[in-house]
């Protein structure tokens, strides 16, 4: 098997002395759509921030294509980050820029396209998320779901290698979130990118995820790793099966009650 695209090794995450999760070790392979699951507040966004280098780990290492990210210096990190596209839980769009300017910024920074080419690429990226024509709108002038999609358009501006999404489909209607799932799959298939996302949406977990990890808030570590469809049937952890089969959880509770 090929070398893991992202490898997490014995990672312990803490804010100050408060440990959020400890001893996380897992691989994310190239071309995976990898989902980070878990109850609210278990540390999913925190794990994502560690993968992005926004928070330093308390212990452990994160490797990208075999190179340590944790021990890399600032320049090396910037080089690694060049191939990433990221959306944040609350959008992260620049509120003082129009959507076109938001998408244009990475193109301006890292490519030498002419202005006309940039405009064409912006139109294409916005069209992918169904927002062509909204170039001159400010983030405050569009809806929350549109903001999520605009953030996605900015994330894919440079055809990234790895895409990180924090709850991309939260707050979207079922049809849009289905379209978003399709889009993520299309982008992944056509560019071969690896996708790492935090999500609670069971339809998208089962629809598109190829691998996943479940973080448990009580034991403060990962308690399941693998394809979510298999975990639903065969996980030895009842919490994971309950999480993945929402209907069954009430049944399980009734049985124990």
């Amino acid at each position: 098997m090929a070398e893991a695209h992202i490898a997490v090794r014995e990672l312990t995450m803490a804010y100050g002395s408060r440990v959020i999760q400890r001893d996380l070790s897992f691989d994310i392979n190239r071309g995976d759509i990898f989902v980070i699951m878990g109850g609210s507040g278990c540390g999913k966004s925190t794990l994502l921030k560690h993968l992005l280098g926004l928070v330093e780990p308390a212990a452990g290492d994160i490797l990208y294509a075999g190179d340590s990210f944790v021990h890399a210096n600032a320049n090396a990190r910037d080089v690694m980050r060049r191939g990433w596209g990221i959306t944040y839980q609350s959008g992260g769009l620049f509120s003082a820029m129009t959507l076109a300017e938001n998408v244009e910024l990475p193109l301006q920074l890292y490519t030498d396209h002419s202005p006309a080419d940039r405009a064409a690429i912006i139109a294409y990226k916005l069209a992918l998320v169904g927002l062509d024509g909204y170039q001159d709108f400010y983030p405050s002038e569009i809806s929350g779901g549109m903001r999520k999609r605009a953030a996605l358009a900015r994330a894919i501006a440079l055809d990234p290698d790895i895409l990180f999404f924090d709850e991309p489909s939260a707050g979207l209607d079922p049809i849009s979130s289905r379209l978003l799932d399709d889009l993520i799959v299309q982008i992944k298939e056509s560019t071969g990118a690896t996708v790492v996302m935090v999500t609670h949406e069971l339809p998208s977990i089962f629809g598109i995820a190829t691998n996943s990890v479940y973080l448990d808030a009580a034991s403060k570590t990962m308690i399941a790793y693998g394809n979510p469809r298999e975990l639903r049937e065969h996980s030895d952890q009842p919490v994971v099966r309950q999480f993945l089969a929402r209907e069954a959880s009430t049944a399980a509770q009734e049985k124990t009650a």
Partner: protein, 377 residues
């Protein structure tokens, strides 16, 4: 195919019924590729009802090709030409499907106004009146909220008031100390040079005491507080506006003026006189330092200064400080509450708060001085 092929397109019009667009080569970022505008002009003149897009000779591709194809697709749709892909790579096909699933949004056409239209005098006046009206309305709201506070039916929280008092008072002591000592020294220098010509250096003490108490102590404090606290108020409220926090307060059934604005204004109005007293004291000391350097002993300085000191001068300064405090807080809060919902708008609000506050200060100071001059205080 190791050698990169140049990207190019060719449009062949076979007969009246169909046209073929052939794409060849590697359409990737960092390579020369055709500009869509060339195709647009050619495409605009064909009359075929159908355009076949042939990609059988296409090499590698990325967003550059997709952007090109999407423009082509959109033009075809606008001109009712049927877009017929032939041998599109699987990925291109699917991405194009996603990108064209939703029709582009066409914003309603807007009449563009030339820049000089904005210099219209009537419009400027209307703008100014509109702003004044808004400010008056804001002051009205604040007054109502204050009245409610007096009646004890207000949603103002005492904890907030205390926090803002702390921010506006003790936290400002360091900067106020620095500015007021220096201003006292400057006053003394200015006066001493003139007074020495008459051999009346000793009156520097009078000049510093009266000048500081009536005017400079309070004015400098107010300017510092406008830059410090007024701007902070605008930025805080502006950020809350951006985060929809103010919407949340409104929908909780609480007036944002009572909840956010009143404690801020009260805190500044209460702290300003105290800061002014402190600034007065340090200003006089600063003047004394300079006077000492000119051969006036501290004792002489204090004696002379004491004669100049009167309750009237002190009270004039304190009255001004209350008024200035209210003006700074109103300017800051108004700018924040009316801020737009973006990071740039918050910055503008903070700037506006400081500029307006200083304009208010100078106008109010001049007006108060003129009135007192007339009444002879």
């Amino acid at each position: 195919m190791s050698q990169a092929q140049p990207a190019e397109f060719e449009l062949q019009v076979e007969d009246r019924d169909s046209a073929v667009l052939t794409l060849r080569g590697d359409w990737v970022h960092g390579r020369e590729h055709p500009d869509y505008r060339e195709l647009r002009d050619e495409l605009a003149v064909i009359s075929a009802p159908e355009l076949v897009v042939d990609c059988s000779a296409l090499g590698t591709w990325d967003s550059v090709l997709m952007a090109f194809l999407l423009q082509c697709y959109n033009q075809c749709r606008d001109e009712n030409i049927e877009f017929q892909p032939r041998e599109l790579p699987e990925g291109v096909q699917r991405l194009l499907q996603v990108a064209t699933a939703v029709q582009p949004y066409k914003p309603p056409a807007q009449r563009r106004r030339p820049w000089y239209a904005r210099l219209h005098l009537g419009e400027l006046l209307r703008d100014f009146l509109e702003r004044s009206r808004e400010t008056l309305a804001f002051i009205g709201e604040v007054s109502i909220a204050l009245w409610k506070l007096l009646l004890g039916r207000s949603n103002t929280r005492f904890v907030d008031f205390r926090t803002f008092c702390y921010q506006a008072g003790p936290n400002a002591i360091a900067i106020i100390s620095l500015t007021s000592v220096l201003v006292g020294m400057i006053l003394a220098y200015l006066g001493a040079v003139q007074l020495r010509q008459f051999g009346a250096e000793i009156y520097v003490a009078d000049l510093v005491v009266i000048g500081t108490l009536r005017e400079m102590g309070v004015l400098m404090t107010a300017v510092v507080m406008a830059g410090r606290t007024g701007a902070a108020y605008a930025a805080q409220l502006g950020t809350m506006q951006t985060n929809e926090e103010i919407d949340a307060i409104v929908t909780m059934g609480v007036s944002p003026v009572e909840f956010l604005v009143v404690p801020r204004i009260l805190a500044l109005v209460v702290m300003m006189p105290l800061l002014t007293l402190y600034a007065n004291l340090l200003g006089v000391i600063g003047g004394g330092i300079v006077a000492g350097g000119m051969g006036i002993t501290p004792l002489m300085y204090m004696n002379e200064g004491e004669q100049a000191l009167s309750l009237v001068h002190l009270n004039v300064g304190l009255l001004k400080s209350v008024i200035f405090g209210a003006l700074i807080a109103v300017a800051g809060c108004r700018a924040g509450m009316n801020s737009g919902r973006s990071s740039a708008a918050v910055g503008e609000a903070a700037t506006e708060a400081v500029v307006i506050a200083i304009v208010y200060l100078i106008i109010a100071d001049a007006a108060i001085n003129i009135i007192f001059q007339q009444v002879g205080i």
